[in-house]
Subunit: 353 residues, 3 copies
């Protein structure tokens, strides 16, 4: 990869987690990002806050981070693609001071939560930051509630946030450049995962990268792991995870053994969509290296494929796993059939390794 231009602070913090649930009202605790090959966050030490309806305040910095990329970060100079995972409990309010350290107009627009027109993040509502500007966005949430004798939906869900103002009315330039991240609203009683990953199918990339330049994510056998999948851009996609499955509902788990929800391991992931689920890493299938990829054939062939290293329960490398990682890093070379390689035109493979 020596020939490639340096890409500072990219998806290193693919699952950089901002577990706001237990943070003090005026601040935020960011767990240390785990070292090593992977990008998994440390386990959250936080628990359910004693009181519901807390107001949490954070400052988010939008910055240009090289290579044509822009990102959000929780302190100056730490912006990443995707941005930090923002987590709150249903009932909480999140007040965001967005600081625009770039020379482009931009904003932060959330999905799933409540916000008034001033916090819409859209040019339509004149809700954005000019270059250099600081602006407050307020996101509120609620539990399911009754209205006219019916239960109206609450805010809990695997949502996301993104720019809605850089490039036209809909943030097309900002999204292309990486201004997006995951927003998790948990319901009282929800389980916290040991690790979590944000996987954004953006254009023909995963988190603005393509194989084999997508950082390896990892966990230990038996850990509860959370995936948050988000779609952006102009193309349709399907997210497939090998050797694990989930229920197609709010949590990915069943409400009971007779829950009729369809269980899936492949799901549409189109622009503006998001979903999430928890799985037990390697349960029933063992440790090793598992692919997650877009199942649209020319997308996966084009590099929309990442790998998940599941180590042994004690953190050691499973037999053969290093060889598999090596094959991944030689993606489009070692894994292809010889006859296919011969047919390929120069320049159609991923260079640089």
């Amino acid at each position: 990869m020596a020939e490639k231009p340096a890409r500072p602070r990219l998806t290193r913090a693919m699952s950089r987690r901002s577990m706001l649930a237990g943070a003090a009202a005026a601040g935020v605790t960011v767990p240390v990002v785990a070292a090593g090959l992977g990008t998994a966050a440390a386990a959250p030490e936080t628990a359910r806050p004693a009181r519901a309806g807390v107001t949490r305040r954070i400052t988010v910095y939008a910055e240009e981070i090289g290579g044509g990329l822009f990102g959000y970060g929780l302190s100056p100079g730490t912006a990443t693609v995707p941005g930090p995972i923002l987590e709150i409990w249903e009932g909480d309010t999140l007040e965001i001071d967005l600081v625009n350290n770039t020379d482009r107009r931009l904003s932060i627009h959330p999905h799933g939560v409540d916000y008034d027109v001033d916090s819409d993040g859209s040019p339509l509502n004149a809700s954005f930051n000019e270059p250099g500007q600081r602006r407050k966005y307020i996101w509120k949430t609620r539990a399911p509630y009754q209205k006219d004798g019916r239960w109206m939906p609450g805010s809990a869900g695997y949502w996301h946030y993104h720019d809605h103002a850089m490039g036209g009315d809909h943030g097309t330039d900002g999204l292309r450049a990486g201004l997006y991240g995951a927003l998790v609203v948990r319901r009282e009683g929800d389980l916290l995962p040991k690790r979590q990953y944000t996987v954004v199918f953006n254009g023909m990339t995963i988190n603005n990268r393509v194989a084999p330049d997508i950082p390896v994510i990892e966990a230990n056998l038996g850990e509860r792991v959370e995936f948050i999948a988000i779609g952006h851009g102009d193309f349709f996609h399907t997210f497939h995870l090998h050797a694990h499955r989930w229920a197609d509902n709010r949590t990915g788990m069943l409400s009971g053994p007779d829950d009729p929800t369809q269980v899936i391991d492949n799901r549409d992931l189109n622009p503006g969509d998001s979903f999430g689920f928890q799985v037990i890493a390697g349960e029933g299938v063992g440790p090793g290296v598992w692919m997650y990829h877009c199942h649209v054939q020319f997308h996966s062939d084009g590099g929309m494929a990442g790998v998940w290293l599941i180590r042994n329960a004690d953190g050691s490398m499973p037999e053969g796993a290093q060889e598999t990682l090596d094959r991944y890093h030689q993606h489009h070379h070692a894994m292809q059939e010889p006859q296919q390689l011969e047919q390929q035109q120069p320049g159609t493979t991923h260079e640089g390794h």
Copy 2:
């Protein structure tokens, strides 16, 4: 918009509602369409009919309405794009006399309800109207029922109807020209909304229009409002509504506080698909102007974006709302960043205002 050719009777009746539930068996009551900026229908005054299983009879007129458009209407000279919302209760039968006042072959094909081969509306079953012809189509519905010890699905749902015979075997010309509309089958106990809107993502348009030429829809703060979303054409889409969310199920509401259904504010809306939901206008977020748009970036940038004006509860204009509407009507001008405007090529923006 003075330079534009006149477009008669287009989406004026975007939510033109034909609430058949309480109509006499031999006719149909069409509420007066609300005046003003918006296209919201008057509140239905109807209630659940005393008896289930009523047969209702209507006449539908297919007509050419100028500008290359064709529409369905409930009386001669009143065809619109989309056509009128047809509503019945689960258990009812709807008999439609379709009058083809055009010079093209066409039909009416429903989703979700029961019909025999003569009412299929397809050339395959020789079920269509020749130019000038009148033909009967019969749609039946039923409640969920047991079979082999299982519960089989009933007909209740947010469905749609469309031409299946103009242009080839699948109505491609008819659909492109506007021959489509919403079909709502309600279950006993379902709530009736105060307002309802049909939003059809058809090709690269919303109801065969693009921004800022999409009529503003509107409601008052706190009203129960129903969206019926339908997809048609050749492209994939995702429907996103700002500041409101719904459950991804039959009604958009939860069956209880522990219902595991995913709550969403963005959903795939691909050809032949439909879904619907009810929200409380502005609840928790306040009045103002909210966007609904395709979240595929080049589709929204291309004009697949409409606005929903939520007035104050007393019907007055919220502060700043007129300015926001003005920005919408200057779409692709005022809302864009100056540097973007400079980069644009002549002719790529929407003209005429």
Copy 3:
């Protein structure tokens, strides 16, 4: 069709069924494929095995079958496109000896079930068959189970299997050539259908065929029929079935009359996705010929449309059905409007009949 090159052993066995549930542990019973126009399998005579957790062993043969097609079969010389429907009960293990009788590298990769890295079927895990090679793949399943106080999903579902190694890392060549099939994992208590069909939207084809060259599927009025729909390739699709509907969940049926699941008759069917459902043939709508097709207009116009013949309950032909089948077989000729035919360019219609 005289001008067309012969296509041996294609989708003749569209619903060729390998009901493994009652098969001996060391073998498999393949019901006789029904004769006639259709491709429906005989009714399964099998019942729930007395014990759960049985290990079943089969040999699958991957073969080239002419016309550029490759298929899977349960004995030498019987490969089909799609491959045989593989069925097991939740809790069972399926051991597959895959024999590669082709000169290309290939594998078999399942969705929904448990497998270790050796059975992944991917080049990433060096899990594939070289030409001429025999290799074992082991698929395990489980019922829903509790973990951390939650119900984790079981394996029951309408899944699928496919090549993951012919042509690059993701089996793109193998999928294009027909190396795919349905995998059904049933839960104790699930109903067995009388007939079942595999419908794979692969590229711009249905089971690698286009209208009118798609075999007619058939059933008798009132029979319980199962559709297994699978998506592959590079394009997005929507599956629409005329005059029948299903619940959008694991089984297509409701868990009770108040089940909030949306009922649909059109569903996204994108690469890697699958779903299934059971309907009662012609119930409420009568016998006749019903279309199933991709609802993307230029896909259905391009030939992604098949027909389902529902005979009378006694197996006789319904009135008018033969004429309808004749129209289908003259697809794009008899069903089109005269004015459309005149506008068509030479070569844009399907030739050869």
